[in-house]
Amino acid sequence: MRPKEPCDRRGADRLPSALLCGAACVSAALVFSIFAFLAAFSWPVLSGGQLGSLLSWHWRPLAGEFGILPMVVGSLCLAGSAMAVAYPLALGVCCFVHGCGPAWAARPLFVSIRFMTSVPTVVYGLVSVFLLVPVIRGAFSGSGFSWLAAALVLAVLVLPTVVLIIDTQFQAVRAEVRVAAAAVGLAPSQEMRHLVLPLSRRGLAIAAVLGFGRALGDTLIPLMLAGNAPRVPGSLLDSLRTLTAHIALVVATDSHSAAYNSLFACGLILFLATLCVNLGVLSVRGRRLG
């Protein structure tokens, strides 16, 4: 019996590892083929004379103008502003949960934030259409479907993601330093400021990068709340259109077929942005080894 055991175990190990390896290969192949597909379809647009038309500030498909720059700017504005709200909030929540706030409130707060991850995006969108948009419409002028509305709700959407990443990092650091910090008489806020935050730099950077990527990639919130006017917003109360919402809109509406080509360029830009986000995470992770 004895000598057989390692043999069996190896056999048992082989199947899951083969499955995992297969899954990894399929994923890699998928990602690569998506990239190849996007590149191939946008190639005629990018190489032909249409490039100039793509990189313009006007989206007028009927006039043959397919400029996607307003959408690029819209995506960056919205993701950036959503993160500007969500990130400090998430950091505050994590500090609160990790000792800076009263213990009785920490647990419920964290549990409710984790619950937020399971709420479907469309629910946030729908609720906001009926609650937030009228408030903005009433407080200012205009339709209420605006950069501001989308940014606030998108911030709520990415908040749990950012909180969970920072929390994981804080937990790891605090497991190491908590008792030692208490023993030298550091108050929880001092422990946070002098130990946990400085030692969590990597996790904080990763949370920012991934949160930004999540905000950039979301489609439904900007589609439902941002108003979708294809121009660069002049203020927070203006309407804007993101790349993601743009793709959804053009595909969904019966549009001039030449508009379709420009979508591949949008897709390619989003894909490359995601790639940059992941490379950003990798470089932050790798720096520790160096």
Binding site: R178, A180, A183, V184, G185, Q190
Partner: protein, 251 residues
């Protein structure tokens, strides 16, 4: 005999399981006071009850009274208006396994000074050097103060933890099996260090080494299972055979 710490009817539970039950003892100033007991009898828990460090662990409940006499007067450790951070600065602790912070050697000592007392610059560095000299580590680390503390050997880390505690100028030092994780030579060095520190600090040392206790102890308590604390007179614990008779069943 001046009393440094008075413990009255101290009970500590972890998740409803009683670790200490109505323990009462008076620890004199100076010392060293040694605390012996079987592994798992609650020695570490008793030490942590003095500086309220048990509160860092979940599901711990403490009742009873602990009065710590510091240079600034008596502190009721568990009174609601006691600042636990101040108490912990007055009562330093060195753990069984060295727990240096993942910072440089210098920052391990200077960061707590900066965070708790706003001390930095030349003043903090002077205090650091003084503490490192007191812990007899200065000559070994003076040229590598910016290196990560985790790169030090076990014995050096243990002395760094001691220096970190000393830099805060405590009145009382709690030492939890300070030589248990060290090799013979490093252990000997820490023992010699205890001999020097006894004149300046009240030392409370948890130990499992009978011979170590016999050599170094000025006062000795035995913690029995169930939390009963027994004090042994010097005539008993200085005499090897008498000590073995009392503790034979313990060890």
């Amino acid at each position: 005999m001046a009393v440094a710490i008075r413990i009255e009817r101290l009970s500590v539970d972890f998740s409803g399981k009683a670790v200490l039950r109505d323990a009462s003892l008076e620890i004199p100033k100076g010392g060293p006071t040694f605390l012996l007991g079987r592994s798992g009898s609650g020695k570490t828990t008793l030490l942590r009850a003095i500086n309220r460090l048990n509160e860092c662990f979940p599901a711990c409940r403490t009742s009873g009274r602990v009065v710590v006499n510091t240079a600034d007067g008596a502190m009721e450790a568990y009174a609601p208006d006691t600042a636990v951070e101040v108490l912990r600065r007055r009562v330093g602790m060195v753990f069984q396994t060295p727990n240096v912070l993942p910072l440089s050697i210098a920052r391990n000592i200077c960061m707590p000074l900066e965070a708790t007392q706003g001390m930095r610059g030349a003043e903090a560095e002077a205090r650091m050097e003084e503490a490192l000299r007191e812990a007899q580590l200065w000559s070994e680390v003076r040229d590598r103060l910016r290196d990560p503390a985790v790169a030090l050997s076990g014995g050096q880390q243990q002395r760094l933890c001691l220096a970190r505690a000393l830099a805060l100028r405590p009145d009382i030092l709690l030492l939890d099996e300070p030589t248990a994780s060290l090799d013979f030579k490093a252990a000997q060095m820490v023992e010699e260090l205890l001999g020097e520190l006894r004149s300046r600090y009240t030392l409370i040392v948890v130990s499992h080494g009978l011979s170590q206790a016999r050599r170094l102890a000025e006062y000795l308590f035995v913690l029995h299972d169930g939390g009963r604390v027994e004090e042994l007179g010097k005539d008993v614990f200085r005499d090897k055979d008498a000590l073995l008779t009392v503790l034979g069943d313990l060890l």
